[in-house]
């Protein structure tokens, strides 16, 4: 990790390189001689620039461009929201104290590797360690599957909905799901498939095709493998503060049919999106988001069921807080 001063010097060196490229004089070797400390960074930067020039630009179809724009707006709205929230948190506090607190938190986390100490004041996207995210997802998933795999109603769709709700209600920052608005509610397709593969790799659980007595395929189920339960040590260690909420939520949903999970997950996500975007939240605006802006399949569920779910969320004290990223329209490429 570079200090601010080092990063500033490095940016200055990069800037000199860019200026030389713009003047059609590649000064890489000269700059390496002048700033030998930054040789590696300079070489990488030069490669990045050259590759960008050498490869042809990809073309975007109109649909791809629209989707990219929609996703961009979603990212920016999240960032603006988090930025405001970060500023609001600091009202009445000395800036220096805040900086120290964040730095201390970062240092502590680097030392201990504990993710539970992350505070709401920190910027999003702090962790870029994809492998850690991958394992965190697998651990959460293993906790859910270990509790629900015997349930007749538990399959891949319910699994995904429970993961979504655990992540958001439990505020598990490590999961970082990227959900899209699908017919059955918020779905992170990559998440569920990568998690299933990791469950098998760790010898915790595997999927199998459920069949009716007549041999007809009726969905996916899960069954334990030799190391089932091995995830718990990580679960307890990483989410000691949130584990009770997560477990209660899983148990609450234990007897539910998949459709009920889909309804809760959808209402929660639509509501959460409105908060993230800073739009007014009313029962009607949540309903509009679900019935008009989600997926046409949502209209097949009667309006009163959506309304009663909104009421249920309030009664249970599970009102969304704008945690995580907003859901995006469905597309696999972006």
């Amino acid at each position: 990790m570079k200090t601010k001063g080092e990063q500033k010097r490095l940016d200055h060196v990069f800037d000199l390189y860019l200026a030389s490229v713009e003047a059609n004089e590649d000064s890489l070797n000269e700059l390496i001689a002048r700033f030998p400390t930054y040789e590696i960074e300079l070489r990488e930067f030069a490669a990045f620039i050259k590759i960008d020039e050498a490869l042809p630009d990809r073309d975007y179809t109109e649909q791809e461009e629209q989707l990219l724009n929609a996703r961009t707006i979603s990212i920016v709205q999240n960032a603006l929201y988090n930025s405001r929230r970060g500023q609001a948190d600091t009202v009445g506090k000395k800036p220096a104290a805040r900086v120290l607190k964040i730095k201390a938190g970062n240092a502590r986390r680097r030392r201990t590797g504990s993710a539970t100490e992350r505070t709401a004041q920190e910027k999003p996207y702090v962790s870029r360690d994809l492998s850690r995210r991958h394992i965190a997802r697998a651990v959460l998933s293993a906790e859910i599957v270990s509790r629900l795999w015997k349930e007749r109603t538990f399959g891949r769709v319910k699994h995904q909905k429970v993961v979504h709700l655990c992540e958001h209600i439990g505020q598990l920052r490590e999961i970082r799901g990227e959900y899209r608005r699908q017919a059955a509610g918020p779905l992170d397709n990559k998440l569920i498939y990568s998690v299933e593969s990791e469950l098998k790799k760790q010898n915790w659980f595997e999927t199998y095709e459920k069949k009716s007595p007549s041999g007809k395929y009726v969905g996916h189920g899960y069954r334990p493998l030799s190391n089932a339960g091995g995830h718990r040590v990580y679960f307890d260690k990483w989410w000691s503060q949130q584990s009770q909420t997560v477990v209660e939520l899983i148990e609450l949903m234990r007897p539910w049919k998949t459709e009920r999970c889909e309804i809760l997950s959808t209402v929660y996500a639509a509501w959460n999106d409105l908060i993230i975007w800073g739009k007014p939240v009313t029962d009607d605006s949540i309903l509009r988001e679900i019935l008009e802006n989600w997926h046409e399949g949502k209209r097949s569920i009667p309006e009163h069921r959506w309304r009663s779910e909104i009421t249920w969320i309030r009664q249970k004290g599970l009102v969304p807080t704008g945690f995580g990223q907003a859901t995006a329209v469905c597309h696999s490429s972006f």
């Binding site: 050259k50 050498a54 961009t72 870029r128």
Partner: protein, 254 residues
């Protein structure tokens, strides 16, 4: 009586460059800012919405960054947010393209989120002047920011799935270690131009990096070997395999 037209005051930049000089905006940007400050809100929105720099009335990104920060200071959050959105939509495809070239497709989406989020956070961060350069040379500022955000992803990519060459195995008899240390220059610039990313993304991430560094950036095998922490022989083999794979794919054999 002499008429007086009030010229808006533009706050000077305060951050210093690497030589200790304070950044200064170009006269063109300053002129655009003065003009923009005189516009009514609907006109300003229309002007900022212009994405094509060849169109008349186009406002440069440097100018928009200034306007966003000024609006935020004055508490005009809704308009500032709108301007931020216009600005990021301008750069969306450029950033996505750049990432798609250097990163394997499995990493592009996440890195894109990080870059766009960082761009937003840095522009609206009024507690710091460290991004004053965005009002001087927005394009360069964006390129450097994108690269800095990509570096952790490069590390992930370099740890990609491609396995070491059998020639690295000390147990393998010497007769099999006859791979040349360097490859002849390959005609793959043409191949890249024709087929581009679709083919490249079918390679393992690490092989893809090696191939791009060799044929996109012109690195020597030794340099690639040092960079990826693999032997020169492994890199040579990867390049050969990548070349074969790409050519086969190009012929439609795969």
């Amino acid at each position: 009586m002499q008429s007086r037209v009030a010229v808006p005051q533009i706050e000077p930049l305060s951050h210093q460059d690497g030589d200790g000089e304070e950044f200064t905006r170009s006269p063109q940007v300053e002129a655009q800012i003065i003009e923009a400050l005189s516009l009514q809100q609907p006109s300003l929105q229309q002007r900022v919405a212009i994405q094509d720099f060849r169109q008349s009335g186009y406002l440069k990104e440097e100018c928009i960054v200034y306007l966003i920060r000024k609006l935020l200071k004055e508490g005009e959050f809704a308009l500032a947010d709108e301007l931020v959105q216009y600005l990021v939509l301008r750069i969306a495809k450029q950033v996505h393209r750049q990432l798609s070239k250097s990163l394997h497709e499995s990493l592009v989406s996440e890195c894109y989120s990080d870059v766009m989020s960082e761009v937003t956070c840095r522009i609206v961060d009024l507690s710091s002047n460290r991004d004053d350069y965005a009002q001087v040379r927005f394009g360069r500022w964006l390129t450097m920011l994108t690269f800095n955000m990509m570096r952790p992803f490069f590390r992930l990519q370099d740890r990609g799935r491609a396995s070491d060459s059998i020639d690295d195995d000390p147990e393998v008899p010497n007769e099999r270690k006859k791979v040349p240390v360097d490859c002849k220059p390959l005609p793959d610039a043409q191949l890249l131009e024709k087929e581009g990313l679709a083919l490249l993304n079918k390679l393992d991430p690490a092989k893809r990096t090696a191939f791009l560094l060799r044929h996109g950036a012109g690195w020597e095998i030794v340099a690639i070997s040092k960079h990826l922490g693999r032997s020169t022989k492994t890199i040579s083999n990867w390049l050969k395999e990548a070349q074969k794979q790409l050519q086969a794919m190009q012929r439609g054999a795969l």
